[in-house]
Subunit: 375 residues, 2 copies
């Protein structure tokens, strides 16, 4: 195995996999990245066995071959080498890759490519739906934060994905909840597939996918196998193992009616919540929302620290009310929205609150936040 | 107590003290900042009882008074208030400061100013020496990193400060060591004081002082009392309690002769060490320096990972040699230097190595690094 690669191309390939490889496993090979070189260039693969990445990069192959090397160490080398081109040489029968760049020389012990777990390659033939980078990013951004971080909460530790037909078009929908709040976002897509019944995408997989999606425009081909979701763009394939467990019947949680409705500037509410939260208890950030004669007032109070209060201009429909919320859940939802105003629908002080894009937006996007009991 | 202050001025005052206040103390008042308002403006004081800060800031006083408030909370409020001016009001007989900015309102519980520990004020009368911000920063930068972080190492957990006359002028000298390496830097100064015998300045004090020093030009007046060092500039006074303990006789550690001398480009050596260290053991970063027929070769090796090697161009005097060093100590010293080349003097493989500015510099600055035994 012998090849020459541009420093930039090597960095690009290795930076992709840093979040995927797993350093603390009993299986040391999954801390490694697989390098496979042929006349077509370099194939790079990484996996933690739940989430996998494969990419193809330009390289000048002198002698084909494959080896796995420590992903973090190789990335450090790539970033620090002094020349624009880096040469790799694995002498026949050796397990040590020789890396040369100018006067710098490294000899790095690898593990056999044969022992590397299988990872799905891009497959242009498989039936897939198409989503733009922008739409895929949007689906992730608007739901990722609401996924439960508690791995023991089966069914809540991933984003639920489904397809549905709203009469006019087929849409894909991401839904996430941690039991205290819920996020839902839909987008139209092109292509048809046999849609599997229930799909639950893991948090780590979505976080890593988000980094790839953020990295340039393009169209992603999304396909599903029995236990994998595969996302391909150009020469990149990213896959994640579907989670087991049943996502709750989320439609039950979405309020179907309201007694109070507010529309107010999203930025104003975010800023006010940030300020008022300084005086809220650190753990659950309890903040009181009051509708007082057509004005919205947010307050927080800690007996041992003090209190904060702020009034906000809003268009208000419905009677006065006081209700408590976790300010962080509110801010997360407000930050995920991208409209100038937010529409807030509330029943009474014990019912969940619904946030939607304001300004008459018809976007298929909503956030539900459960209320908190305040003393 | 009632006053109006510009948001920027308030942020400036409070950002200064964030590193000084101590949140994890049994005495809650030292997590607070003292605000004292009079016709002259606002005096802000903070202390952890070892390190203290006092500064004077512009404020429009409506009614004089004093109160202490949580430093971190007040800083958060200052950064997030929506208007350019912030009003403070402590109603007579109340312990709760009312803070108003636009529609935002805070009521923050304080602790009495009477219970705040005394902190030294700027005293323009006290005999002091004068050092420019640039010189003071230089003295700190070139020695701070070599101070031991181990609080139990009495005598080594601070920078030793002394004055001496080199025949032409009186100079101030900072020296620091952690037992493995030593840094020394001298600068000329103006003014005369009764110089105390031995002075040991604590690491936290120097780190905080560095932030103040970095923040703009100016001349610092430095004075010493029996147990305090006080640094004043304009309306700021920063003081630190001197450490107890005897600094070792550092002159014994500085090599007075050499058998090999190298001069090489500082950047080249820093980069080569960074690269080679990727393959050095994580804890002590052992790297081998070899002089081989007029060439310098740095290598690192870990049996389970691999090895790295790099040659460097150098002007070499003396015979071939192999010697081991902690690469991090070497890099710290090289980063503290500011000349294009570095002069390295070595005896044999068991003697300490001396680093000095290259290019014929006559700077009063040197670094000593103890060798490591390599297998």
């Amino acid at each position: 195995m012998e090849f020459l690669i541009a420093k930039d191309e090597l960095i690009r390939a290795l930076s992709r996999v840093q979040g995927i490889v797993e350093k603390r496993s009993t299986n040391p090979i999954i801390a490694n990245v697989l390098l496979e070189v042929s006349e077509e260039g370099m194939r790079v693969a990484a996996t933690d066995t739940e989430v996998s990445f494969v990419g193809r990069y330009k390289a000048e192959c002198a002698r084909p071959g494959a080896l796995t090397l420590g992903a973090r160490q190789l990335y450090e080398i790539a970033r620090l080498v002094p020349t624009d081109a880096v040469s790799f040489n694995l002498p026949e029968g050796s397990g040590q890759m020789e890396i040369r760049s100018g006067k710098a020389f490294f000899k790095v012990l690898g593990l056999s490519a044969d022992e590397f777990p299988p990872v799905p390659d891009p497959n242009a033939e498989a039936p897939a739906i198409s989503l733009s980078s922008r739409e895929l990013k949007s689906l992730i951004d608007k739901t990722l934060f609401a996924i439960s971080s508690d791995d023991t909460r089966t069914g809540l530790n991933g984003a639920h994905v489904e397809a549905f037909n709203d009469g006019a078009e087929t849409r894909i929908r991401f839904v996430a909840t941690d039991g205290h709040r819920l996020s839902l976002c839909g987008r139209s897509f092109e292509g048809t597939i046999d849609w599997p019944g229930s799909l639950l995408l893991p948090k780590k997989g979505l976080s890593e996918l988000r980094k790839l999606v953020e990295d340039g425009d393009g169209v992603w081909r999304v396909s599903f196998t029995e236990n994998q979701a595969v996302f391909c763009r150009d020469a990149i394939a990213f896959s994640m193992r579907l989670l087991e467990g049943d996502f709750p019947d989320y439609n039950q949680v979405i309020p179907s009616s309201w007694q109070r409705r507010l529309e107010l500037r999203r930025d104003d509410l975010v800023s006010a919540l940030r300020r008022v939260s300084i005086l809220a208890a650190e753990k659950s950030h309890p903040v009181r929302f009051a509708i007082e004669g057509g004005v919205v007032v947010v307050t927080a109070r800690q007996p041992e620290a003090g209190e904060a209060r702020e009034e906000l201009d809003a268009e208000v429909e419905g009677a006065d009310l006081e209700v408590g919320f976790n300010a962080r859940y509110f801010r997360d939802a407000l930050m995920a929205l991208d409209t100038e105003t937010v529409l807030i629908e509330i029943g009474d002080s014990l019912s969940p609150c619904l946030l939607r894009p304001g300004g008459g937006s018809e976007s298929d996007e909503l956030y539900v936040i459960m209320p908190m009991r305040l003393e």
